[in-house]
């Protein structure tokens, strides 16, 4: 279950993230796998440690999945943390990946939700399906 992505696949992912999330106003978008690897990051992550963010997000998602099990759910499809100026939105992509979107208060959560759902659909086949 190791992942190998060609330059073409990476370019496709970059296009989708840029088109649907950065253009919609997101500051930064990361695709990570659930073991904590950073697959792609886009946007302007000035002063942001993206490698640490990837590892912590995977762990956070894993911990939340345990919470989900405790209340009889399989997993949560998305997580959202709201800050004073910056918000962070996590969406599950298939079983093995997480899409992380950072956006400011001027961008609506609804738009981010809508677009991450669309992006997720596009990414799943590129990442080798639902597994």
């Amino acid at each position: 279950m190791d992942l190998v992505l060609s330059k073409e696949a990476i370019d496709n992912i970059i296009n989708v993230l840029d088109e649907d999330l950065l253009r919609a106003g997101a500051d930064c978008v990361l695709l990570v796998d659930r073991s904590g690897n950073l697959i792609v990051n886009r946007g302007d992550p000035a002063n942001l440690d993206v490698v640490a963010l990837a590892a912590l997000s995977a762990a956070n998602f894993g911990a939340t999945a345990e919470i989900a099990k405790l209340i009889g759910e399989d997993d949560f499809a998305l997580l959202f943390h709201k800050g004073k100026n910056e918000n962070i939105h996590f969406t599950k992509v298939g079983k093995g990946f997480i899409l992380i979107t950072l956006f400011g208060k001027e961008v609506s959560l609804g738009l981010i939700r809508l677009n991450t759902a669309k992006v997720t659909e596009t990414l799943i086949p590129i990442l080798g399906g639902e597994q």
Binding site: M1, D2, L3, V4, L5, S6, K7, I10, D11, D33, R34, S35, G36, N37, L38, I39, D49, V51, A52, A55, L56, A58, A59, G62, A63, E66, G96
Partner: protein, 203 residues
């Protein structure tokens, strides 16, 4: 699970430092972090250490240069050793590519070492991984206490307890002083990269 990015010719793999609580896993990472230059190491993240016990994990990303044109990035993690944190250990083990088992040389920790190794085997098995397949290196830590008035296990005894069946590479070490820390990392990195590339070639 490793990730290979052919657009950057880069491989990322995950190495987990496992072992009983207070055996020296965090100290290994701290030593590496302070001994390495900024070009090699990323930021070390330690989550919620309460009274110096790791509650979730420590994380240290390293860029170890190139092998045959491929840039090697290794993310080091530690697990909390205390028996009650098994759910956390399983979480951190997710997608592991290589393991360093840090055993404690203190005589009083003899059983704890054995239990922790058995726990590792069990957790891997639950993820359909056989401990014999995954790259594994042992480190017998705290050898600096030899000659002090604290009773410690002999290396032979530790080999017998932990490695008689596995027969994996092992190192004596003192994470506190830095002895054996780089040797351990070098061996597990080499094995992990080999393991990942072998899997890659067999696809």
């Amino acid at each position: 699970m490793s990730f290979i990015d052919l657009s950057k010719n880069e491989v990322q793999c995950k190495v987990v430092y496992y072992g009983p609580g207070r055996g020296g896993k965090t100290t290994n990472l701290l030593y590496l972090h302070q001994a390495m230059t900024d070009s090699v190491r990323g930021k070390m993240v330690t989550i919620d250490t309460k009274g110096d016990r790791t509650l979730f994990f420590d994380f240290l990303p390293l860029a170890l240069g190139k092998i045959q044109g491929l840039s090697i990035k290794i993310q080091l993690y530690t697990v909390p050793g205390q028996v009650m944190y098994n759910a956390t250990r399983k979480l951190v083990l997710k997608g592991v590519d290589g393991i360093v088992f840090v055993a404690d040389s203190l005589k009083v920790q003899k059983e704890k070492n054995i239990e922790s190794l058995a726990n590792l085997r069990q957790n891997l098995a639950e993820d359909n991984l056989d401990m014999k397949d995954i790259p594994l290196v042992l480190q017998f830590n705290k050898r600096d206490l030899g000659g002090s008035n604290i009773p410690i296990l002999t290396v032979e005894e530790m080999q017998e307890d932990l490695n008689s069946e596995l027969q994996v590479p092992w190192f004596s070490g003192s994470a506190l002083k830095g002895d054996g820390v780089f040797e351990t990392l070098r061996e597990i990195s080499k094995r992990t990269v080999k393991y990942v590339s072998r899997k890659l070639l067999s696809r």
